[in-house]
Amino acid sequence: MTAPVSGLPGIDPTWSTMVDIGGVRMHVLERAAVGDPEVTILAVHGNPTWSYLWRNLLAGSPAGWRVIAVDQIGMGYSDRPAGVRRLVDRVADLGALTDALDVTGPVVTVAHDWGGPVSLGWALEHRDQLAGVVLTNTAVHQPAGSPAPSVIRLARQPLLLNAVTRRSPTFVRGTTWLSREMSPDVARAFRAPYSSADRRRAVGDFVADIPLDARHPSAATLDAIAEGVRSLDVPVLLAWGSDDPVFSDRYLRDLHARLPHADIHRYEKARHLVTEDAPACIPDVIEWIESRVADAIPARDSHAVPPFEAIGARLEERRADPGVALADLRSGRRVSWAMLATRTREIAAGLLDLGVQPGDRIALLVPPSADLIASVYAAWRIGAVVVVADSGLGVRGMRRALRSAQALHVIGIPAGLGLARSLDLPGRRVLVGRTGAATRVLGADASLAEVARRGREWLATSSLPAVPPGGADALVAFTSGATGPAKGVVYTQVRLAALRDALRAAYDITGRDGLVAAFAPWAVLGPALGIPSAIPDMDLTDASTLTATAIADAIDAVGGSIAWASPTALRAVVSTGDDLSDAARTTLDGLRLLLVAGAPVPVSLLDGAALLLPSASLATPYGMTEALPLTEVTLDELRSERGNGVLVGRPLPGVDVTIAPLDVRGVPATVTADHPGVTGEIVVRSAWMRERYDRRWATQHRADSPRGWHRTGDVGHLDEAGRLWVEGRLAHVIVGPQGPITPVAGELAAQRAANVPLAALVGVGPAGAQVVAAVLLMPGPVLGLADVDLTMVVREAIRAETGQSVAAVLTMRSLPVDVRHRSKVDRIRIAREVLALLAGEDRDG
């Protein structure tokens, strides 16, 4: 008999077969391998879905793989025998099936929801065959002290159980509602086998078979599986939807604790049915199996690390130094090296005393200050991992970032602890700032002052452990999220140390320097570099509040010789230069180096800065959250050179830059080339780049190509002199009939021709047939057409620079930019709006 799967979207009806496993028939979707299977994929659905869940796995797997997706007994189109099917029965069913289908050779299990324990049960009984394990939003254990998923608890109420799971299609429907993205066709296909109460009986039995307490008949089986998985040594992938109301992050944490070697990819904004909500999920799973199982590529090994100077070494050296280590010009507070070093040691010890372990992740929700710096170095000293979700991500972005990084503990100001409380972080909470009633309300375990006091007592009898190994994780920072949700980026101890050394070497930093952190987070680098830092008097959440006078005061406070600013901060400084007193002007002359990073810096702004800071050399290193700094360029070069894109200069010593050329569809090649003039994705390598992306196996896998390099997601080219030019973001490349068009050169031409501060070049139409539209930042309507004269002027300017003839020129009152830097133009959003305008009216509109 063939099950009625024909006509369901995404399914080849020839996949469908019934298999007799000792008197009961199991429905299976099977896609045979061409030749002997290299590997067999055994996919197990959960409740109340069916093998339909894996249709894209069958369709997308390489021809050499055999892919089998089962309908569990009582589910999908399998038989519905009398009696309750317990977990132990289901594991046995699966074994009987693989025997009946004569599955030999290596097997990778893939499972979702309550298919997880079933597939793991099979895995533990077939260790000789097991080659890999993929788990998506599932659980093997109810983490201690936490309730079962409320949806399940609700469905388990005896009266509700029958009503919800069986008598009405509520539970079956609800599961498809646990997805964000599902077309009505697909939702119907998921429900197809569960059309009547009788056909839904097992759905209720399945829910009833979830052991919520130790007396449950399946509790012992589940416990055995939960313990058994600790011994699995095959590659494991945990592919997880971040927004699952059933199997939330706590279950991911539990599985990761049992399978610490697992690769993780967490899909932002995907719910329970991660394979439906994240279109990349199944392709990623296939890619993972190909690389980790079929090709047996080992996971990155970061254990072999050369000897290096610990990140906090300079701070510890100066434990007796009464000189100023940090001057905070907002509060007027000065902190000496001795005080900072002592405080750091005390907090480190106090955190150990609170139970913080090496490798634990600590969210630091503290604005730049001495408390922040001491907490950071304390965490690093004991091998904890600092998670920095800056306010530039916005509140929602911060929440998302902290959840994705799975911070365990938090050190925060009251607002930060409030945020942490709403996220239900399971570890310790340390309050920075006033204590009192707030401590209890916020659920704080201690104030930072108390932690330090406990540390002091602890240090009286013990000494701090050895500094952590270089390969230990040290920092999770986040990308600005200009293209999609912010991604966590992991740095190890040795990579941070390499960053410190790179800054020292690139900018000749010695003990005589002082750092003015006009981009306040960089104040954290001062102690590592062994130089004092000053935070100027400004509103840290708004860089435009900085003034030239505030910079001069900060220089005075620490003998500042180096300033590090964002382009926005620099603009504010230059525009307030006229207010400087003569004395302050002289002070500014003491600055020998100005670093501007975070976004492209217009030459006019640098010219303004050069007038104000006559002795300073200006550095605008190219880089990103994943790797900074990468290049250097002189102001003279910036002034004189014009070409395709923005000149960012020569790679710094220790940085390799190469190009993955774009093909005619705008797709970067897998191989890289160094020929001058070839446009492609910029690929870099340095000792101080990120170790990896956090819990994003697939992102990491793709960025790490070639292995050990980093794909930046930027496009550009190298010139004859070996200098790098940035032409835009890969995601913003326009693909016209003649091939890819990068946006930056045309934007710069448009800005000059129309005398506007910002412009965006975007593609309109389907990739491969796109035409170009130029959008100018100009007063006027939210989005409108430029007049025909201006259109022709801008078109001619862009044509002269790039050879491209733009179809239309538009104006926008404000261009959408990223929150963190307020300068990276969101061309994708602009393109969407431009497309709508240039489409004109719809017949019904």
């Binding site: 057409l785 179809a807 489409a839 009216e841 719809d842 017949r843």
Partner: protein, 336 residues
């Protein structure tokens, strides 16, 4: 090798451009039409044959005998008028021309069609040609051309290679239709845009349309050319506002003076069409619902397939076209 090619509708803007392109290539051209072939084409070297595409087949067949190819460019293109007129000229006429070509032993047939045959009123953004769809066509003209195109494509076979070319919004020197109307209205200060005026539209400079059709004659037997429609345009979509402004500017006339809301224009168009139909007025009303749609909705096309299939690229860019138009007009009014 030079061929002998019959062109119906040789005095129309696209037909005349095709004749010029064919002659320039060295082909012998027979203009087939009711009256006499215009003097300008005769001077350029075309001969003429008098025949009516809605008349007896034999007359057409005689005109086609000895020809290697027929280009069928004759059509009724008005915006209004009774359906029967469109059906007679565009549908029955095409059937006659196809049959006559076959009877005359012609091996190559190029049908001049229109992208409007596949335009259901929604924006077309970098679109492919799309299948002609009489049921969803937005005007009598578009429906009759869609039916004609389907007839032509059905006739494609081993004995007769049928290519269908759809030039989009042809304009330029010598065009008494679109170009002249825009200029007349601009000079009268009555040029308006409908809606935002921001819809991107593809247009075709007249000489490029002629070249593309000539290329289709030469390549009609190649797979990828015959048997399915190819949209032809300059491949330089521009906003409606820019096109109107620059055509008007070529005549030293002001561009669009005002914007009429889309719903108003479309509703007004409906009313005027009915008035014209009921009263049997001559000529076209100032706006029709179809025109309102055409002027307010994006329609531009992916030209990659066309250019590869025809091995053709536009010779005259839009900028060059505007310059030629300005030179031709020299400040003198053309009148439609």
């Amino acid at each position: 090798m030079a061929e002998r090619i019959a062109v119906t509708g040789a005095s129309g803007v696209v037909g005349a451009a095709t004749v010029r392109s064919l002659l320039a290539r060295g082909d012998a051209v027979v203009g087939v039409q009711r009256g006499t072939v215009p003097e300008s084409l005769q001077r350029a070297g075309a001969t003429g044959q008098s025949a009516d595409i809605t008349g007896p087949i034999e007359e057409l067949q005689r005109a086609f005998i000895g020809c290697d190819a027929v280009v069928h460019a004759a059509a009724r293109v008005d915006m209004t008028g009774p359906w029967e007129d469109f059906e007679r000229v565009n549908v029955h006429g095409t059937r006659n021309v196809l049959q006559a070509a076959r009877l005359a032993g012609v091996r190559t047939f190029v049908m001049v069609s229109s992208p409007s045959v596949a335009h259901a009123g929604h924006p077309l953004v970098g679109a492919g040609a799309g299948r002609a769809d009489p049921d969803r066509a937005r005007s009598h003209y578009a429906r009759s051309k869609a039916m004609a195109e389907l007839l032509a494509l059905e006739a494609d076979g081993l004995d007769l290679a049928v290519a269908v070319v759809r030039p989009h919004l042809v304009w330029g020197v010598g065009d008494s239709q679109l170009t002249a109307r825009i200029i007349d209205r601009a000079r009268a200060g009555r040029l308006v845009v409908i809606g935002s005026g921001a819809a991107l539209i593809d247009t075709t400079y007249v000489d490029n349309a002629g070249d593309a059709i000539a290329a289709a004659v030469q390549r009609a037997h190649i797979d990828g050319v015959h048997g399915h429609p190819l949209v032809v345009s300059n491949g330089e979509p521009r906003t409606v506002t820019e096109m109107l402004t620059r055509i008007a500017a070529a005549a030293d006339a002001p561009g669009p003076r005002a914007a009429v809301p889309y719903v108003v224009a479309r509703a007004g168009g409906h009313v005027l069409e009915r008035v014209w139909e009921r009263t049997g007025r001559e000529g076209d009303p100032p706006v029709t619902a179809f025109l309102a749609e055409q002027l307010a909705t994006a329609h531009w096309f992916d030209q990659r397939e066309t250019r590869t299939a025809l091995e053709w690229t536009p010779r005259v860019s839009l900028d060059e076209g505007f310059a030629r138009l300005a030179e031709w007009l020299g400040g003198v009014a053309p009148t439609s």
